[in-house]
Assembly symmetry: C2
Amino acid sequence: MRRVSIIGIGDTKMGKLPECSLKSLITEAGNEAILDAGIEKNIIEALFVGNFNSQALCGQGHMGALVSETLGLGHIPTLRVEGACASGSLAFRQALMAVAAGFYDVVLVGGVEKMTHQSTEVVTSAIASASAVELEASLGATFPSIFAMLANRYSYEYGDIREAMALCAVQNHENALLNPKAQMQKKITVEQVLNSFPIADPLTIYDCSLVTDGAAFVVICATNRDVGSAAKRKVDILGSGHAGDTLSIAAKRSLTTLDVTVNAACQAYSMAGIKPEKIDFAEVHDCFTITQILNIEDLGFFNKGQGAEAVAKGKTARTGKIPINTSGGLKAKGHPIGATGLSQICEVVAQLRGEAGTRQLDRSQIGLTHNIGGTAATCVVNIFRKGES
Amino acid sequence: MRRVSIIGIGDTKMGKLPECSLKSLITEAGNEAILDAGIEKNIIEALFVGNFNSQALCGQGHMGALVSETLGLGHIPTLRVEGACASGSLAFRQALMAVAAGFYDVVLVGGVEKMTHQSTEVVTSAIASASAVELEASLGATFPSIFAMLANRYSYEYGDIREAMALCAVQNHENALLNPKAQMQKKITVEQVLNSFPIADPLTIYDCSLVTDGAAFVVICATNRDVGSAAKRKVDILGSGHAGDTLSIAAKRSLTTLDVTVNAACQAYSMAGIKPEKIDFAEVHDCFTITQILNIEDLGFFNKGQGAEAVAKGKTARTGKIPINTSGGLKAKGHPIGATGLSQICEVVAQLRGEAGTRQLDRSQIGLTHNIGGTAATCVVNIFRKGES
C-alpha cells in the first residue's frame, strides 16, 4: 500500500452566507486548494465529493459531476460519498484508498453544504434523515434529544458534568475568536451556556453545533509522486480508520462509550503505529458538547469518566496538554455537514505546516481528525504528520 | 493489485411494490446474496451502498448504516455512494478498489430504491436532481427532452433510426418475458412503440425506462481468499472503468458519442486485456431506447452510425451476435436507480454461471455491464468472466 500525502488545502468562510451559492462555495474552496497545491488542474485524476443535504435543500444530486463541471475538471471520474455528518471524512478516506492502492496518483476531495437558505423546519427534517427515521426520528427523537440522553446517562454513571460540557463550548468559542473563517466569533461564559435557551435537558442552545454554509477541499497525492508542490508543506497521512454501528440509538451496546470512535481510532492508531499519547492536538466531532467529552475519552486521550475533569482543568484548551478543536469545532467554527470532515483536515494541515496564524500551536507534529455521522453510526479517524522536508 | 471475484448475488422482484418497504427490499436481496455466497454474516468486513433517492422519496439518508442495521452486520464500516443512475455501479467499483488494494477481503455491496409510493410529480422532481438543475432542469430540460434531442441529432447525422429505437424496446420486452423478476412482462410491437403516448418527440412512453422499486446485492471477495464458497460458481472481475463528463448537456463535446461510455469502456478493456470483440453479451444502460443505440456503438460493439442497423438485423437480440439486456434492461426489467448497476451485475453473473433459467445464453464466457448517471455525466463499465473451477 503506497504512502499518501496532502499537498493542498482550501476552505471558505463558514457561516450563514446568503450571498454564496453551492457553486460559488465550490469555486472558492476548490480553486484555493488547487492553487495551494501549486498544480495544474489537468493533473487531477479523480474527484471525491462529500455532501449530505444538497438533494434535500438545494434540489441538486449528482454532486460529483456538479463539482467537476464547476471547477472545469474535464472528463475525470467523480462520485459523491454520503455517511451523514461524516460524509466529508468518508470521501477523504475513499480517495486515500484509491491513491494508496495505485488507481490514481493525484486526487481532489471536496465537501460542500448549503443549508441556511432553508427554514429551520426544513433543515431539521433534512438533518433528521441521518438518524433511524422509521424507528426513532418519526417518534420525535431528534438529535438534541438523543445526545441529551447520553449526557444524562453519563452523569448518572460518572457524576455531574454540566459545567464541563459548558466549558467545551466556552473553549471552542475562544478558539474560534482566533479563526477568521469561523462562523461564531463571540466570547461566551459558562453562565451564559447554562442559562441560555433550553433545547433538550440538559442541553441549551450553546451546547449545540451550528447550521452552516461552507466548503472545504484538499488535494492528495502519492507521497513519492513529485508534482512540483513544495515538499516542506506536504503533510503525510499516517493512519486512517472507519467503523460503523447501528443507525438507531436503541440498539447501541453502550450510551456512554461511542463504539464507532473506539473502533475507528483503534484502526487509525494501528495503521500509524502510534499510541494516543503521541497525538499533539485534534479536531474532534462536537455536534453537542457531550459528544466532545465522550469522544476525547473514546479516542484514548483520557480514561473513561475522566474527560469532564480534564476539560475543567484546561487540558483540552489551546494551551493545554492536548488542544482540542483549535478551529473552533462544529460548535463555533461551524458544521457544514458534508464539508465538516474536510474542514477539520484543513485545520490540522494548517497547524502542522505552522500556517495557523494567531491560533498556531507550539507543539504540532502529529494531529488527528475525528468525525462521526448520525447517532454515532459512522466514524472516520485520521492521523497526520508534518511531511519530511 | 489483487484479483477480486463475485461469490454471491441476490435481487428482488422489480416493479411497483406497494407491499415492500426500503427495509424489506434490503432484507430480501441482502440475505439472498449472503446465502448464495454460502458465508456467515460475520466474515463480511465492509458494506458499500448505492442509492439515489431515499433522502428525497423516503426521508432516509445515511443508507450505509440503515442497510447494515437492517441486515444485522454489526460494527462494520459502511458508506453510501451516489452518482445518480450509476450509484450502484459506483458502489461496486469502490468496493472492488478496497478489496483489490487489500483493505478488506470480503465485502457486501447493495443497491436499493423505493420510488413508486410517491406521486409522478415528486418522482420526476427527484430524478431531475441528477441533471444540471440550475442550468437546465430549472428551464424545463427534463431527461426525456434531453435524450430526445440526442435521438434527433443522431438521425440528422446518421439517418432515421426511429424503427431501430422501437426495436430496442421490443427486444428488451421480449427478454423480460423470460425474466420472472422483470417489472414488465408484456410483449410489444414496433407499431405499438411508434403509436403510443408521446413523451418528447421522437420518444414515446415505450422508449422510456421505468420507475421501479427494487434491490440488488452482491458479495465480493479477494479471489485467493477461500471463504468456503463453491469455486465453480465464482465469477472473476476482469476489468473496471469509471469516467466522468460535464453535468450539463450544453457543455458536452458531442451529442452522438457519449464520451463517458467510450472512456470508461477503454479503461475496462485495458484492465481486462481484451478487445470489445471478446465480449459475449452485455447489460447496457437503456434509460431511453436512443441511449442503448449510442452505447452499443460507444462500447465498441458496432461502428459509429451502425448501431441502428445492427439492432434492426437482430444482432443484439438474445439469439444474435452480441445479446444486449437479456434481463430486459432498464426498459422492461426496471430501473431501481441505485440498484440498477448491481441488478445488471446479478444478471451477468447468473448468465456466466449458467443459472439464467429459460433466458440462459449458449455463449456466456465473458460479460459486460455498463451503467451511466445523469445526462451521461458518470459512467462505470465492468467486465466479468466465469471463474476458473
